[in-house]
Amino acid sequence: MKHPTTKHITTEDSAPLISAQERTTRITVVRVVTLLLFCIVVQSCGNDGLATAPNDGEFSPRLSAYGIFQGTMSNLVASEGYLGYTLSSQLFTDYAEKQRLIKLPTGTQMTSMGDDLLNFPDNTIIVKTFYYFNDKRDTSKGKTIVETRLLVKRNGLWNAATYLWNNAQTDATLTTSGFDKNVQWIDEKGAGRVISYHVPSNRECATCHQSNGQLMPIGPKAQNLNIQITKNDVQTSQLHDFQARGFLTPTDLLRIRTLPNDKNPALSVQDRARAYLDINCAHCHSPTGFCANQDLFLEYNTPYESTGIATRKDQILAFMQSGFMPLLGSTVRDDEGIALLTNYINSLP
């Protein structure tokens, strides 16, 4: 004879009422499930882990509308009024080559605020075009242009958007949701490379480009522009050249420091590594960036003791090796960068 369990009772009675025990079980189940579901909703609605800085300015559907390039667009010859610039240290983006241009409204100038980001007048356009040489050993074999990114300042606010070049390389289309594109090229060692290049979404732009919740340019800091360039076979200071051409208000250039070039083997490993972290990581890992709430601050000007590197030596390398960091912006590991950081971290006390 079975014990008089719930099952027993319900099967005996022809029209049973549910037992108290069973009712309790049911209510408990409902409570647990409801609670669980509630937690999920509260935790997660509308949250995709990217920055929520506003980035919804108007952009033309086609890149050609901006007239950035003259003649055949794919030659990337900048139109009149576009100022080309280079950075001492540059962001690694899956080995892509980059062309950088600034267009100021006629009659306006950039102003320098010490080492920091230059101040740009309204209606400034900054343009960054990403491309690959078909054969890096012989650039005359042409290139494949993938995307052209714009930062435009209107009414004091920056907005960012990117244009995906078509296969015929005749124009590019506004792409705000992100896109993956196969890219192939032959690298400097003659090896064929294939990657699935990621064109970032508008939300991704905002995640790297936000500072205190607002979109900002990252590269054109006086200290990152403060380098020697070769112009008409003559060495000259880039900032001095900007001034001479009337793009930059007069400032005492001697007081501006220089962000080291992370690729320059003549510099100390420490300087190179800190510059690398500045341009590849600090847009998120800074007191105003996306990761302001972590105490990992990787700007070059931050004194070592305040960076938080000391307590995360292994983690930094591990995250870079696994491809987890940088969180956005590349799909393959930067082996050179990892080698540099490994040397640097091994050299730390």
């Binding site: 099952k7 319900t10 029209a15 049973p16 009422l17 549910i18 069973e22 049911r26 209510i27 189940v29 409902v30 499930v33 409801t34 669980l36 579901l37 509630f38 999920i40 909703v41 935790q43 997660s44 609605c45 509308g46 949250n47 995709d48 882990g49 990217l50 559907p61 078909n134 054969d135 012989d138 074999k141 995906l164 289309t173 506004l174 792409t175 705000t176 949701s177 992100g178 896109f179 993956d180 196969n182 192939q184 032959i186 060692k189 003659g190 090896a191 064929g192 490379r193 294939v194 990657i195 699935s196 979404s201 508008n202 939300r203 991704e204 491809g323 987890f324 969180l327 799909t331 393959v332």
Partner: protein, 238 residues
């Protein structure tokens, strides 16, 4: 909208479970199930006019991919025919690109000849399903199941497969960002259970799931994942 549907669901569930007064003989009210479903997955894209070309080029290049869902569920029978289940499952669904063939102008020393990319989305599913059983006989029972599957997005992995001299290698890139943390799928299944003993049955169904909320709701091109396949299960009635 999603919050609303969700609240409604929760309420419905609550009503069902607490108000129902059973009126007929049911041998076992509680059942437990484990299941594994190999599935084919894909997505639909809904885009604004400005990104139509982008969506079209993705539609031309992306194809279905095999994924799976595996999990457990507890089922409660109200009547001989009707029951409600709540489960917990891990789902891995996604899609991939067609294989691209690469030609090299200059003979490079190592040159990949083909590649494709696989996109996989890991979700924790919480299926809340209503089941109708019919055609009971000594061994066979048929069923039809439908309901909602709220789920939590865990990670998306993008894996690039490259063929170099007939050796495929892959590089994986995993991110838990860029997609809404919360998703909602509708699920439908038909199939049969084969009774092995008083307590055990085998279960085989054809199942389909479709997202009714985009996985990237803030974008101009939105993705709605869907998947379908065989659902193999094992039922235990204690």
């Amino acid at each position: 909208m999603k919050k609303f549907i969700f609240a409604l669901l929760t309420l419905a569930l609550h009503e069902c479970l607490s108000a129902q007064q059973p009126s007929e003989e049911i041998p076992q009210r509680f059942m437990y199930r484990i299941s594994f479903a190999p599935e084919i997955g894909y997505r639909t894209l809904v885009s604004t006019a400005s990104e139509r070309e982008i969506a079209e080029s993705r539609d031309a290049n992306e194809i279905a991919q095999i994924g799976f869902t595996t999990g457990i569920a507890a089922e409660y029978a109200f009547t001989r025919n009707w029951s409600l289940s709540v489960g917990f499952a891990y789902a891995n669904r996604g899609y991939q690109t067609k294989t691209a063939i690469f030609n090299w102008s200059a003979p490079a020393q190592q040159s990949p000849s083909e590649s494709f990319v696989s996109y996989r989305f890991g979700y924790i599913d919480i299926p809340i399903l209503l089941t109708y059983r019919f055609g009971h006989d000594r061994h066979w029972t048929f069923f039809a199941t439908g309901g909602a599957v709220p789920s939590v997005f865990l990670v998306r992995s993008k894996t690039l497969f490259v063929n170099e001299q007939n050796t495929w290698t892959s590089t994986d890139n995993q991110r838990g960002i860029g997609y809404d943390r919360f998703a909602l799928f509708l699920s439908a299944e038909v199939g049969a259970e084969y009774t092995l003993s008083d307590s055990f049955a085998l279960r085989l169904g054809i199942v389909g799931k479709r997202a009714i909320a985009a996985s990237n709701p803030n974008m101009a091109t939105q993705e709605y994942l869907f998947s379908g396949g065989l659902n193999l299960g094992f039922v235990w009635r204690p």
